[in-house]
């Protein structure tokens, strides 16, 4: 009886140890450090090549979009530090100037952050119902496209 029980404990122990090893290596390989723009501007070259996440507000008027090369560039700020970000590809739905965003990627020696993933944050706070002018501006957009796209 005793020997049998021991056998199970040993077998279970091996499985658990393997599991923990797997988790440890998984964490080690994919740990992503989270910095604010201020922290990143201080650390800079000490974090070259590390996977990082930087969160902040997208600076007003900083978004530039180059449709031919699919290059998106903008600045992220936390009020003190500001980081230049370049991203290959388009941004997710809720990404906009003045809103929060988290970018994932690496710091480059050329002084900008190369983002591989943008995560836009959206808030669920109560917002007062529409101002009439925003709807108007969307109608305008609608008209301009209709005009241009119709032969």
């Amino acid at each position: 009886m005793k020997g049998r029980k021991l056998k199970y404990i040993v077998a279970g122990g091996i499985v658990v140890a393997a599991l923990l090893g797997l988790i440890y290596s998984g964490v080690k390989e994919s740990a992503v450090y989270f910095y604010t723009p201020t922290e990143l501007t201080q650390k800079k070259d000490s974090v070259l090549g590390k996977s990082l996440r930087v969160g902040g507000m997208v600076v007003d008027g900083s978004i530039k979009w180059d449709p031919q090369n699919l290059l998106l560039s903008f600045q992220l700020t936390d009020g003190q530090g500001t980081v230049f970000v370049r991203h290959k590809g388009t941004a997710p739905d809720l990404f906009k100037e003045g809103a929060g965003a988290v970018v994932e990627g690496t710091w480059t020696p050329d002084g900008y952050f190369r983002s591989s993933n943008i995560m836009a944050k959206h808030s669920e706070e109560y917002r007062p119902p529409t101002h009439p002018e925003t709807l108007e501006s969307k109608k305008e957009l609608f008209k301009s496209i209709m005009k241009e796209s119709k032969p």
Binding site: L19, D93, P129, L141, I145, S149
Partner: protein, 659 residues
Amino acid sequence: MISTLGGFTLFLALGVTLYGVAASVIGARAGREDWLASSRNAVLAHFCLVTVAIFLLEYALVTSDFSLRYVANNSTRGSLTRYKIAGLWGSLEGSILLWEWLQSLFAALVVARYSDRHRQLMPYVQAVLQGISVFFLLLMTVAVNPFARIFPIPLDGRGLNPLLEVTDMLVHPLLLYLGYVGFSVPFAFAMAALITGRPTEEWLRITRRWTVVAWLFLTGGIFYGGWWSYRTLGWGGYWAWDPVENASFMPWLTATAFIHSVMIQERKRMLRVWNLVLVTLTFSLVIFGTFLTRSGILGSVHAFADGPVGAMFLAFLALVLFFSFGLVAYRSDQLKGHGELDSIVSRESAFLLNNLILMGICFTVLLGTIFPLLTEAIRGTKISVGTPYFNRVSTPLGMILLLLMGIGPLIAWGRASLNNLKRNFLKPILGALVSTGILYALGVHQAEVLAAFFFCFFVLGTVVFEFVVATRTRAKTMGEGLLPAFATLLLKSRRRYGGLIVHVGVVIAIIGIAVSSVYKVEHEQTLKPGESLSVGSYTVRFDGMAAGERPTHILVWANLMAFKNGKPLHELTPGQRFYPNQQTPFASVDARYHWNEDLYVILSAFERNGSSATIKVLINPMISWIWIGGVIILLGVIVAVLPERRLALLAVGARTQVA
């Protein structure tokens, strides 16, 4: 008016529920039938009151009564009625009310069904279920009142997030809530069994069907959520290891472990403590997941607001854990099992390992989800682990599970002889080897895909083998045809064969997951009208932008024509939706879905004058297999839980009618 009435109804329900808990405990302890009868009435009264509350809120939502804060935040005049109704579970307060209503409904169903049969257990089952309701009612009366007023009363409400104004919103959350609430029933029976000092196999047998059905709802909710995400969110994926997804996945893992280990306890009377732990963990993880996601502690996309809600959930979780593990410890002398494990090569061991792996995945997911919190608490820096971590750790574990899925149902109980192993597994292994070899010859060379396919073929092989052997044996001994023999086999041991069908569904889904994630192709390009892009065997031509007004939004879309190998295939119109209340547009993806490959297109950006558009194209091979697998799982569970007697009665009835 509605605000006062609703608040009062909830308050009354809280009083009735507290009384119900007390009455059932007093009645059980004193053996007073009058108290017990009164406690059952309290359960029904509680259900009626919460039903009134939910009707009041729905009435306010449908009639756009914006004097209620909740209605103003989750509804708008212009919405279709069904989305006004769905506003009930659009955010926190209403979701809690819906949860509590389902909780009260389930308590009423349990009372109606079992109160004459399980006289010792039932008072405490009621007490536990009502106790859970007390928490939710307290939550609503103290912290998240769905009937709170707003002043000044807005002219129009804010409406649901446009992402939620789709028919899926009417299905996915309900499935999940039904699953979540469903697990409170086996939990309540387990606790009642411990309180009354009968923690043997009785509670398992009573709640078996509840557990499987709750599991089905949770599984359905998870699959449906993935399907919804894939078809409507503009990123072409179905699972992102988002905290909310993880929150539904963790109880699913423990529930799956529970469904399997129950079989060992029923057969061998072992693992009594383990099963109590699993049912407690499942229920606790439901609460914990809600805490994680509703407290805003992790900052997930799904998260609602901050507030005292998080603290209350945490306190309730602590109470549940303390209460249930305290009871297990208190009854530990009665929980000693009788059975012993005979050999490592046995069905018991396969099931034990399956449980260990499922718990391992659950731990992995839990750790990954709360990792930023842990590192911030311990080291002061926020370190997160994303999708790579989850994939890296769960893939090998999933492979082992897959292997066990083939071994478990066929290996002998007790001690498997070499002969048993050879007879059951030789052919499936050979079949899997040959099939995988054929795939290799056809050009599949990724090691992980080959491994996944090998295990999948192995499981399918064992299932087919089992069906063929059993059908043949029956046909021979009973002198029936093959088809009738197969049908009676399915009917006679539906639990077993239903389970095997579920396994087939899981295998199909895993094939879909493996192939679509490894062979996915993604391409993004900016096109002028008339230009095309090519990706794989597809060519996509951009024919220009267009726009139109929709009832709730303005839709801007790109006219695309897709070709496969030069032949016209399908018109595609991916677009962006502009809502008056939202500052950024929402994607409106388009795709050509096909059983073996989806062509999925997203309009990521466009020039306002229509001179160019940036199109993202994804080729997702075999992704439909995931949804097909989900449907097969559903069928399997239906086979497994159909009530045996009722079917027999139907059959008898049909026969007498014919006669």
